[in-house]
Symmetry: C3
Subunit: 313 residues, 3 copies
């Protein structure tokens, strides 16, 4: 059974990106692939793009969907083994995941990290419990540490917009008012390390990502040095991995139009949602540099490709 939990489940990132780009021309051509199949979407956290794009992707493939907001539609789940369940959790993940897998042909799961306990979060307990118990393919809709559907859409967007064969891609930290997961930057780094780009990451001291994900990326602490001659600037906030979950404080790292002027007319990327004038200034957001909406739109096709791969495996 093929899951889609990380780049490890994608044998050919560049090939998949180009297949997903091709889907745009004939989005309904595979409408019979999903007949009699149901995709269950299990949300432990809120979602806008992921919920809409996955649902639409399934519809384009002729699949049915069922969405479940675990905490409001259902109840809280116990993740640990051997527990006397006399607290707030009314059902064990081993039962719930098995049941959900029994009614659905594919399950998508979204579950953010606590940002409190790094080993709990980085063990991906919940996602792996679904993989273990559900008995059907699992799609990661953003887990504690990774967001591969976003990364595949990001790669598609770079491939569509690149003008040199090996572009300089810079992932730069930006400020935020609260602690955000590391899932998007971790995952982007994983994918960039599998394709032929000149990949850089810039962040203030203390905000380094887990080296297990950043791998061979060139690391910078000077944002303006990192941005020089960049072809793609991916802006994203994340909380600290080292001082786990701490927000960081470096307001000068906000992306602006001025900063983009030093690049090689770079394309500006962000996964959304973005807090304007905190993460990215209006003048950059609303400039011709931005390909942020192309990126968002590509979420539909990255989702549809992954679903098609699973339906036809």
């Amino acid at each position: 059974m093929n899951h889609f939990l990380s780049v490890e489940d994608c044998p050919n990132p560049l090939g998949w990106a180009h297949e997903a780009i091709k889907l745009k021309e004939h989005p309904f051509q595979d409408k019979l692939f999903g007949i009699n199949k149901t995709l269950g979407l299990v949300f432990f956290n809120s979602s806008l793009r992921t919920r809409l794009s996955m649902t639409r992707a399934a519809q384009n493939l002729g699949m049915q969907t069922i969405s479940l907001n675990v905490s409001t539609d259902g109840w809280q789940l116990e993740m640990d083994e051997g527990v006397v369940m006399n607290g707030k959790n009314a059902e064990h993940i081993s039962e719930a995941a098995t049941v959900m897998g029994g009614y659905c042909d594919v399950l998508g799961v979204r579950a953010f990290p606590s940002l409190v306990n790094v080993s709990d979060d980085y063990s991906e307990k919940l996602l792996l419990a679904f993989k273990k118990y559900a008995g059907v393919p699992i799609i990661n809709l953003e887990s504690a540490t990774l967001h591969p559907l976003q990364s595949l859409a990001d790669l598609m967007t770079i491939e569509e917009h690149k003008k040199v064969s090996k572009p300089k891609v810079v992932l730069t930290w930006a400020p935020h008012i609260k602690a955000l997961p590391q899932a998007v930057p971790n995952s982007f780094a994983q994918w960039m390390n599998r394709v032929d780009v000149d990949f850089h990451i810039a962040q203030p001291a203390g905000m380094e990502l887990d080296e297990a994900f950043t791998g061979e990326a060139k690391i910078h602490y000077d944002q303006s040095a990192a941005l020089r001659d960049a072809h793609f600037v991916y802006v994203k906030n994340w909380s600290s991995f080292k001082e786990y979950g701490s927000v960081g404080n470096a307001p000068s790292w906000m992306m602006t139009l001025e900063k983009l002027k030093d690049t090689s007319n770079a394309k500006l990327m962000h996964c959304l949602p973005v807090r304007r004038n905190v993460v990215i200034a209006d003048d950059a957001m609303d400039s011709a540099h931005s390909i942020i909406q192309d990126q968002a739109k590509n979420r539909l096709y990255s989702a549809q490709l992954v679903l098609r791969k699973i339906l036809t495996q």
Copy 2:
């Protein structure tokens, strides 16, 4: 692109009402019109009739639907331009609306007024932001000031039940325990002013609606005088427009069977939900005067007609 935000987007209200009535005979005849199309339903406020009737209307046309409860499924949106987004709003409407439009072919939007700031509410900021940014047709599912899907259903119901060519239609204020929007009465007035009826509005002093909507309606402060010889009595509470959002206090304006006796055997209308024995007494609700359930059922066909118009424009 054709939106459906108000009566201004309907070139022929009477014609549309009769087309919607005809839909009832063969509700599934247009089932191929919606193939490969997805309707996104975006709820900033709760909904029963609108949610169910729009979903069913889409299904009757072969469309897929995706429903999003913005505050529980997603997060709060910033409406103002140029803001430093360091507060509770995690995403700007300009991004969110563009994204939603990117995944859906048509968007329906429900967003009630604050009833605090009249100029904010009456500028229809949120609805117009969707129109500006989404890039797809927008359907008003009840906005700060208008509810045109309700009004089209109201007109259908009048056309089905009228026994004289130019009926006397009376919209009368009724009491309520809390501040309700003016959207339903504003919109009803707009639609009545476009068709050939003798249109009257009755309310206590201080509860007058915005003249931009009431137009040529005959205004009464004496409910019993207004009701005399009426063929249709549309009962509805609304909060004050002049003293914006104030509830008003006139319990004697509750509709009763006794009051209906002075009419020309009038049909009783209300858009629902209705608080019994506060807005309308049980004896009137449960009398043969009531066509309230016909009105509610017509919401399905008014929604289906508007969707069909958009799909075939």
Copy 3:
């Protein structure tokens, strides 16, 4: 019109169980039965299995679905007649149920008991209001006193696993940390009393169920005596019927692997969700005795059979 509110609406429980078992072989064979039909699912309480299994069952039959979480998507409903509705309830059930029935072809309703007022709960006010007003077939998705879709799945599971023609079936109370409804055990008793099994119920003193449902079941106060030679052990907590809603306190009634050793190699059943090591110990849950996941999976087919019966009546 055929409703499905209790075993009374099933003329042949054993026959239906076997029809449902046959559905598993060709779950999509009746996909045209539901064409142009919409199932409305109305949830006054949270749900995981019921929500997913009913939705999937409808999809397997080609039906569309609309789900409504009454309290979060809509508003609270008034159940009593003649009330001045100046409190928290914004709409009367008589209006809301009629409207929902107007937009849907079949309605499923889930509404738990208060566990405060026994006569209110046991009069099944809400479910019967839907039956009275909706004008379409109503399916009980677990009401104040009964859960017949669960019981049909339970009977299917017994039929699939039984090795003697008249098995000994023991329903045994188990501890819990909060007051749970009596709906599942009431309903299971009703169904067992209609088929050819040797049916026993065991509970601590004070936790007896309503005799209207238990009927001819053999009642035990000694769990180990009851379990002896059992072929099926159905474990379930319920709150007291006599001291209405009280939780009870008998931790020694938790099911364990040790207790199952005294049975005739009994199959272990539970309707889920289950609190591990409170209701059933891990060693029993994870043993070969358990057919709990078969039971859960059968919910899909019991739902699909009931829907098919309604569509083809």
